[in-house]
Symmetry: C4
Subunit: 240 residues, 4 copies
């Protein structure tokens, strides 16, 4: 019987295991939607009760799943402290913790419920490929992230010296200028802060011509690593 | 004679078929322009009549084309329920449906007229290549679209906790925050909602550095699939 | 002597020809700066006279260059009606045309002076490579430009139906919506028009996830063509 | 003993050298944070004194490092006028210069302290790879930077003629229009200036469809050069 449960709970190729996986995934999505709906400002007491009921149901199922996973694991302590074991625990912990605690700290505990979303990783091959690609070129990503950060910092210092006098409310310190630098160099450009002096505009012109190529490098590294990871995998691993 | 019509109506390499194809394409474009002009708010009665006349003419030609296509098809039912058969039907159906119906629902029926634009696909090799490229890496696109959606959701939850108190009108719930997340991570950055707290800005900083690489992945997959599809096709298929 | 002039005027590898080329390039840049400065709103009469003097000097040199080029050309008519021959003519024509004409149409004639910038093409290897890359994948660029335009049109129609009632001043017709569609799908996002209804925002969400990959395709085609063109050229062609 | 200091100061593989390197890097980061904090507008006298103390400590360590580097260098003059020698000098010079000078010019001297950030280059392999990649395709980057600048200028002139009359405050001259052109073609789109006339919007539509591909070319060249540089390096150079 233990083998039976193991075949269902742990990801394998039989029908019951797939149904179980889909059911858990459905509950994760449901739980996430519930979590989102609870943040709506004008929620009636009835709806709030319904959302609570769904939440309790999800936690019960997740708890049973967690216990079963421990039950079927060969080396129980290894599972409990493994990456997925901890995620499964964190997905239900906030609910049990919130019983004996006053309401103030509830808000932050609710946030922990989002760990459930990480449970999806177990079922999402893309997420595993992505993690593999990140690890493959970890050092390069860190190194060029460093270059990007230096560029952003230089841009912030530059614009601070050009715009501080003209717009002391938007460029009051280098920390404020850093906000401008990240929003500009990623080309988001909200338009809440922008240079108005001629010097500041020419500096922006220059930084944009130089900088876009640099900011795009980490993106390029991730993409090319990912392509390698995907190509290395056997073709049929994407067929069901 | 049936063979003659078939040679003209179905895409082949003789001159009359090409002329027919260009004529239908011209009518599709004309029909789309008519459709756009009808939405102009201050249209005189005369112009409206003219647009109506063009619309009727287009529908008549498309109807004749549809009947001829059924006439020349070997297996008529297969054509009628094929992708292009249904598009040809939907391109004329809204016009005939709008006769017996009151004016309210007309608005939505008008929208169905846009199916005509899909008729262009029949004549557009690029569209076919693009469809082929999408199908080729369908599973990967879906998987990474999932990763992108999870990232967008995490960003929305994060910014909600940072900005909800400071700007309850813009970040009133996670659903509102999702709007911010998609507009920021695609670097559109309208500037209608943006973080103002230090925590929210640092979170945006972090999310942008991490997220741009992830959001760009589905785009990269489509591009590289397309390159493969284009290269596989014989060179001369682009010559006319 | 004709051979001597030919060696100087036409691009060749001797020193005098290179000096001549640099001198003409300098005059083109000078002429463009003059052109820009003339648009400054509060220009003193003195400065305006100075700019005029520079302009006359440039036109005289360009005229001499044009006459010399005709003089040294083997087949004079072929040169006059060649691409570069016409550009050389258009670079000086506006000046001579503006003598006998009243002031109103001057504005448009001034614009023609910008043809001078195209003279730079003659000296710019990158521009030639770029033109070659464009011609190489001309058909594909046109085809996918078509797909991009269809996507932009669909987006415009969709947002029109969602936002027209809520914001009739910004989305008054499909033509206004087209402005929104191009600014959003290129991720410029000025923030002058953006959806405010839930339907419109969800539509934008959907269109951005799908659309960014498509809009990026023509860019990708140009880039990969260019890489091929650059690689095909002998390495030493970039050394001077 | 000189050899001992040399082994520590110059980048080598023993433990003491690595610790020394990390210590200097830490001081650079500390110095940069101090520099940023000093720009905060409402700083108490106490905090200002603390920041000054840290700054003096950093300068002393950097000065000792500089003297040691000269001491261990084989050819002292060559080191002093080398790239890294000058950076090490400029990193401490502003501090010593600011003693005998009145407070006004201090602001600019403070800016020179940022040269310290360049000291990080010595320890950052990514920065060296990036510099190598830039040098490798220097000529191409300059050539296509030229094409990009011509495109930006054309866009600025075009929008000037369309929008100058409608918005004389935003598009008062071609120089103002250049600001619009760079912000639009890099897709930053702050939203401080945007076209409002139909002609200007159609021109923007056209320029964006054509221009995004061109502006992306220098970025593409840097990325592909970098990929080559990274691949050429022996794999183990990234392992420690």
């Amino acid at each position: 019987m233990k083998q039976d449960i193991k075949n269902i709970v742990e990801y394998s190729n039989n029908k019951r295991s797939k149904f179980f996986g889909l059911f858990i995934q459905f509950l994760i999505i449901l739980s996430v939607i519930t979590f989102s709906l609870e943040t709506l400002p004008n929620l009636s007491a009835e709806n709030r009760q319904l959302l609570n009921a769904i939440e309790i149901f999800c936690v019960i199922v997740f708890s049973i799943e967690y216990i079963l996973r421990i039950y079927v694991a060969e080396r129980k302590f290894k599972f409990i402290f493994s990456f997925f074991g901890l995620i499964d625990l964190f997905a239900i912990l906030p609910f049990y913790l919130s019983f004996g605690i006053d309401l103030r700290s509830l808000r932050l505990l609710r946030l922990l419920r989002l760990f459930r979303l990480l449970k999806l990783v177990r079922y999402n091959r893309a997420m595993l490929q992505f993690t593999k690609a990140m690890l493959m070129s970890k050092e390069q990503i860190i190194l060029f992230m460093g270059v990007t950060l230096i560029l952003i910092y230089f841009s912030a210092v530059g614009i601070y010296y050009f715009e501080n006098e003209a717009q002391p409310e938007h460029f009051s310190s280098i920390f404020d200028s850093l906000w401008w630098a990240i929003i500009t160099l990623t080309t988001v450009g909200y338009g809440d802060v922008y240079p108005i002096t001629i010097g500041g505009r020419m500096f922006t012109f220059f930084i944009l011509l130089i900088g876009l190529g640099i900011v795009a490098i980490p993106t390029g590294i991730i993409s090319s690593s990912l392509t390698k990871v995907v190509e290395e995998e056997p073709e049929n691993s994407f067929k069901k």
